[in-house]
Assembly symmetry: C2
Homo-oligomer: 179 residues x 2
């Protein structure tokens, strides 16, 4: 008989028992929810699954538990957890006398949104600011444009500038409402 890949059940570390059937059903619902959210946010499905399974767990989960419950490869889980930590969406919890990492969810919307803004939105906004300056220059210097054309282009650049300002106004407001 080949190796059966049994879990070592005797040396009892402090991890959760195998989830009951109803726990599994609940977990599945949570995961669905976050997978759908991942779709909206444009992040990989697996990241939604990982956050979901952590969010659905009453206690912090180990890396190994995440891998087993989701049937994902270690590689995917490792990468997914890295992304989630960088967003501040999961934290590691310390468990005395256990070398393994335990993961628990950040549940404050304010902090989750802040992470998204920091990691995904802000860098692009800054880059956009640079580009916008460049466009403005070129439009000013523009040769070979009829004056009405030049006028339209200037107004387009001004529109963009006003978008930028409104965004800059909006983001702090978002933070405030969520806090």
């Amino acid at each position: 008989m080949p190796k059966l890949r049994l879990k070592p059940e005797n040396a009892s570390p402090p991890e959760a028992l195998a989830p009951s059937e109803s726990q599994l059903a609940i977990q599945a619902q949570f995961i669905e929810l976050f997978v759908s959210a991942a779709g909206v946010l444009g992040v990989p499905r697996s990241i939604g699954e990982i956050y979901g399974v952590i969010f659905a767990a009453p206690q912090p989960l180990t890396f190994q538990e995440i891998v087993e419950r989701l049937n994902l490869s270690k590689g995917s889980v490792s990468q997914g957890l890295r992304a989630l930590r960088s967003l501040g969406a999961v934290r590691t919890a310390y468990v005395p006398g256990d070398r393994r990492d335990y993961f628990e969810p950040e549940t404050e919307l304010r902090n989750l949104v802040a992470g998204l803004l920091r990691d995904r939105i802000n860098p692009h906004l800054e880059q956009a600011s640079d580009r916008l300056g460049k466009v403005r220059q070129q439009v000013s210097a523009g040769q070979g444009l009829s004056s009405t054309e030049a006028e339209v282009l200037r107004s387009r650049v001004n529109k963009l500038e006003s978008w930028r300002k409104k965004s800059a106004l909006l983001l702090p407001l978002v933070a405030k409402v969520l806090g």
Copy 2:
């Protein structure tokens, strides 16, 4: 000598002349900007290009002009324009005596954001509401949970509910600030 694929230059329809060099440079800058924005929003690059080229043009563009300026296939442009129209990001402009469609950009941030919310966010929020009800039910009915575990899960569900409420609060506010 094989066919040279000349544009018929004699029958002069009301479309713009070939853009000058500086117009091309300006156009390129605008396009870069919107391609980058497409990245943030998670829409295909080609859609960013199409919106960009329309935004950069002092006059409305024809389908054919978009195809030529971007070196995209007719298929991509057709699909991209459909998506942009569905978002309300481009409109068709009527030109008397011309059978072709002319495209011009929606430039009000308020309307652009409204389109995104309508097409991309709202459907997911509604779906999330449904799922959330389901989870709540299952957590209430949940067997095989210790009472502390059940307590944590209930609080997680409540968190989700509060996220939903805050989002519902936030979206109108966004509309207001942008208007």
